[in-house]
Symmetry: C2
Subunit: 701 residues, 2 copies
């Protein structure tokens, strides 16, 4: 596209920050986007000729580089009917045009009651992002827009047209023809291409994009330019070798301590408690022995070729220690110290020196400012928060917080009965960051579901690229901290997070198949559910409740807020439910279970009722709401464990309307046997909603 | 408004279901609503004269009674510039007009890029309801509309203009003048008045209502008529006398049973366990003695003038038993039996007979199909689900479900440490219903907050009228079951609920100051919070967390999802926080508490940090997120109890990032001492959001 390059080059040379409407549209047209028929003119006679050629009514606009908000400035005359009107309008606008060193645009009048907007913006982290939404006066008023990161494929673009709240106007409303979605989709993809091919294009507005007999036409457009910033020369850094972190054969703790409750002691206790089977070395200038292990006085005294070092020393010692380790052939280090860029200017300098040491040595690094990482299949943790033996499981965490190696893990271990495979608290992520970890987890047979807490993306494009692949085979759930301005402020204080426009993040995550959550607790509850149970095959739920009010409320919740369906049952299922119930009640989904419990006993009713819906092909997941009180009777709950084994395709999540002691007992019985329970009645449905969205992402084209 | 009456009468006589646009607008104009200038004509010459008088450009429309969707049918010509165009347009439309037995409307062309809609609909339960929202093609596409029940006051109407998502277009966007809200507000109020004054008006559409230089003009309008249905002759029924239900001096159980675990026995056990201080009588044909109380063989054998009877007999015996009780001077009864209209046709007949008996006797009745009611200040319950001693508290429930007298109460008693004042499970609410109970609770000094679960409104207008008053002095929280179509289906099965358009309900509840919740659990958690702590004075929260990620996530949650503010602190507060923290961290709200805990100890940090923000005038509520693990140390928590006493204006809600056993211990220690705890980190914020909205309702004009 020679001409496009030329237009941009000329404008930059002339020092223009925005292209004129005419030039902006020339670029769009060069890329095949439908624009208004229009002619640039410099005298009244040319204007008249152009109008005659285009056909009345026409629009006259002042057109100049650097000109935006023409309507507000009165620089447009709409609906000019004839030569007489044209003359008058031209005379008025020409004065403005001269002043702005521009010309006049004679343009066809595009009629249509549906105004859309599409655009492009260059996100500092994600690069060119395409926008789509309602246009005209509604763009700012409703902010009904969505984003995707370039490049967009057809499905990305079509998804955008389904994502806006006003999507119905794209259909044939009020006797209007439906919008040609293929054209819309092509337009959105094209904008992304322009952004990728022309780094000097800072932003594009196509607003309004008017729908004329179903076809979108760019009626006005604005392209904003900017000298492309020099690509930050990102040190590629070494990649690979994460197995030295997750499966070390030998580990050294540098800064090992005799003193209980000090990090340099706790980390050793943790390693021993987790029954690490590799070699464990300790370093402390004092020498001697700690917990039965010999202490080397210095790194220099260590044998050559230890896989990993856990460095528990003051921040200032970090760069030299990395070099010393590398000299001894250490492949990976965990940096516990804080006091780097997250603190002050001095820390920033130290961080730069640390980066330098990492680059020079090629050592792989977690941290600094990390609370450690865990790899249960390898019986290993570098956490220096006392945890004891961490249970092994099939979910893995990537966390831009130390919580999952410390108190949150403590809560999980003590309050929820599930284990983990890999956990990394990334700290300041000078080296190892989320995209590489995600890739590692993707290939990791031990990891069946991935949960993340992130406040920033270090290599956003790489991250999304990896995520796009991973999410087709494993559930990936993300809590993104720092979403609101106040949240983002707190984020700056916490690490050194760059806040990104939340709408862009939202679009990027959807595009990548990542399921976004907004509650910290969901990183725990959904992980527990997917640890114990299969991922649901869809969003169709059946639940049984001991109360009509609960049937009603949970149905409302599923449909209104959670995107879950509570579908009709097969006739056969219905009949089975009817068989176990008294005749006066007409059974269906959701299942009003208590009448059956009254006539046939609590265990029988829940067992038969649950099995009936588990068998039903219309149902993807089942939630029994157990009533457990002294007086109504507390049945043995083995039947739930048996049903879970018998129907391994369908998750069963248990919740309660019960006495607290029976809830606790049921949890203590069921969870170690693989059936997750949830104290609050809404929780299993919230979790199901998250996991059903994961499944949807896995199923996408 | 003679003419309005006439127009409607004529149309009804002519059998018209809708008025013509011309007549519809005449009615609007008679009520002072601004409409387009227009003339009804029947020949081309008159059309030309009208157009000349109005001034070109004009619009020509076919106008006839019973005509809707003119645009889609091509019955409008917009933007006619001159006599020539007028002639052609007239000729084309006149043919259609003749066919429809109508005429032609010559109308000014109203220009404006903002199209709104207002309207009126007659809700079967709530009567005339006014709608407002985005108009034109967006009415259906965005469904960005809201409702209020007539009559509307000015504040109701203004609230509607703030409630729609597109409210920004009412401001001065894109160089347009702001919409004159006083005119909009007057228009909305007027529509309500029309609905109230003309029962034959079934619905009104004013669409589009175009904004012309800031003034709304009705450009098209449609009034739908319907012969007003005869007002259902609602038997007024007796009112008052609820004190016999809540404070009975004497009670008789009819259907008392010897057999443990039967309702007729459990109810006696409950009454005894609650230490009822009035007289207790029992009736059973077998006579004898039950639990030390003499059993009368029949109602006839009872002494005269017992306050209340709890009737635990088969449904069929109900009407006669009511009459027998009344004959003995009983003032109130509780009907436990189910098997009425909620079951089948036979039950419906029985229900009619029961209503008859209630009307004849004037006895006040809870039920049938109720699981009972509770009044702890009077040491009384009629619940026949074994509960034991029910703790006394200051929240009261109105429930269209038996749960709060049965298993949910069991959960509250065993799992949450709060008590109740009054609880009514209304059952089929043949007599006592929510509006009267709400009124009773409003006056009840024992009730400080009201929580409701409703699936239908028996006297909706009365209910809203009462609620409008009550909500100015007490928090009123409602979970409305049956909101979605699937939910509503379940509702039909449950009682015999009439589902109402959820948007109308939503508007009506806001109008009445009732705070709507969507989670069943919130009826418990918010009640617990308000039982222990004062109602927050506003929505400004401070919280302290042991983790940056939690600071970030909870700030996001408060701002994005919960309508809470996390404001800046006074400088004095900030200084105090800085004093207790290491210098490298800059303290603010939310409070990053762990560095202080590290240097000064966990108890000191949380105590001083919590007190500092409690003192801050910018803060209405405080949430300490406690880290409690064996290794970081578990401090005594008395300080929280002391702070709660010292700052009685500000609620403190506690949550955790902790080991389960310490969470449980903290709950067991704090809750009986008046400090509520919440196991999931998001719960205190969700509860605060609900209660801050209650406060907002109480503060409204």
């Amino acid at each position: 596209m020679e001409s496009v390059q030329d237009i941009i080059k000329q404008a930059l040379l002339a020092g223009h920050k925005t292209l004129s409407e005419y030039d902006s549209k020339k670029i769009l047209a060069a890329y095949g986007l439908p624009i208004t028929r229009e002619v640039w003119v410099n005298d009244p006679a040319a204007a008249e000729a152009a109008a005659a050629q285009i056909g009345y009514p026409v629009v006259l606009k002042v057109c100049a580089a650097g000109l935006a908000h023409k309507t507000e400035q009165g620089l447009i005359e709409v609906g000019i009917k004839n030569a007489g009107e044209l003359k008058a309008a031209y005379a008025r606008l020409a004065a403005h045009a001269r002043q702005l060193e521009g010309g006049i645009l004679v343009q066809e009048l595009v009629k249509g009651s549906r105004e859309l907007v599409m655009g492009l913006t260059r996100d500092p982290q994600l690069g060119p992002c395409v926008m789509f939404g309602l246009g005209g006066v509604f763009t700012e008023a409703l902010e009904d827009v969505c984003f995707r990161v370039a490049p967009l494929d057809e499905e990305d673009a079509l998804e955008m047209t389904r994502e806006i709240k006003g999507r119905k106007i794209l259909e044939g409303v009020r006797g209007l023809p439906p919008v040609q979605l293929d054209l819309l989709s092509r337009g959105l993809q094209t904008l992304g291409r322009i952004g990728l091919e022309h780094p000097a294009v800072r932003a594009i507005d196509v607003n309004p994009l008017i729908i004329q007999q179903g076809r979108p036409v760019a009626v006005d457009a604005l392209i904003v330019l900017e000298k492309p910033p020099a690509e930050p020369a990102e040190a590629q850094g070494v990649r690979g070798g994460l197995d030295k972190l997750f499966e070390p054969q030998s580990v050294v703790v540098i800064g090992a301590s005799q003193t209980p409750h000090k990090a340099g002691n706790d980390v050793i206790q943790n390693i021993l408690a987790n029954e690490f089977r590799g070699e464990l070395y300790l370093v402390n200038p004092k020498g001697g022995e700690i917990l039965g292990h010999k202490v080397y006085p210095s790194i220099q005294d260590l044998p050559q070729g230890i896989d990993m070092a856990i460095i528990i020393l003051p921040a200032a010692a970090t760069p030299q220690t990395i070099r010393d380790c590398a000299a001894k052939g250490v492949k990976a280090v965990v940096l516990a110290a804080s006091g780097f860029a997250e603190v002050d200017q001095q820390g920033k300098t130290l961080q730069e020196e640390t980066i330098q040491a990492i680059r020079e040595t090629g050592v792989r690094v977690i941290g600094p400012n990390t609370s450690g990482h865990t790899s249960t299949p390898h019986n290993f943790t570098s956490s220096f928060f006392p945890l004891g033996k961490i249970p092994r499981g099939k979910v893995s965490y990537i966390a831009q917080t130390g919580n999952f190696a410390t108190h949150t893990m403590r809560y999980i271990m003590s309050g929820e009965n599930y284990g983990v495979a890999r956990v990394v608290g990334m700290g300041n992520k000078l080296d190892v960051e989320e995209s590489e970890l995600l890739e590692y987890y993707a290939e990791d047979p031990e990891t069946q579901a991935i949960f993340m807490y992130l406040e920033s993306f270090k290599r956003p494009q790489r991250f999304l690229e990896v995520a796009r692949r991973v999410t087709r085979s494993k559930p990936v759930v993300l809590l993104k901290g720092g979403a609101t301005s106040e949240g983002a402020r707190a984020a700056v204080a916490h690490t050194a997070a760059l806040a990104s426009d939340d709408r862009i993040i939202d679009g990027a995550l959807r595009q990548a198949g990542i399921v976004r959550v907004y509650k910290y607790s969901h990183l725990i509850l959904a992980a527990k559910a997917v640890s114990a149970m299969p991922l649901p095959l869809g969003n169709r739920v059946s639940f049984s409740a001991p109360s009509g009010a609960m049937l009603v409320c949970m149905t409302d919740l599923c449909r209104r807020h959670l995107g879950l369906r509570v579908p009709d049952l097969e006739e056969q299922t219905r009949q089975r439910l009817q068989e176990i119930s008294p005749p006066y009640i007409r059974m269906r989904n959701p299942v009003d279970i208590w009448p059956a419990a009254t006539v046939s006993g609590v265990e029988f009713a829940y067992r038969e009722g649950t099995e009936a819906v588990l068998k039903d092909p219309n149902i993807d997941a089942v939630v029994p709401i157990l009533m457990l009180t002294d007086d109504t009777g507390v049945p043995p709950l083995d039947f739930l464990v048996e049903l879970a084994h018998r129907y391994p395709q369908k998750p069963i999540y248990v919740t309660f309307s019960a006495q607290k002691k029976h809830m606790d007992a049921a949890k203590a019985f069921l969870e170690p046997r693989g059936v997750p329970t949830f104290p609050l009645i809404e929780e299993p449905f919230e979790v199901l909603s998250i996991l059903a969205r994961c499944r949807q992402a896995m199923n996408r084209k």
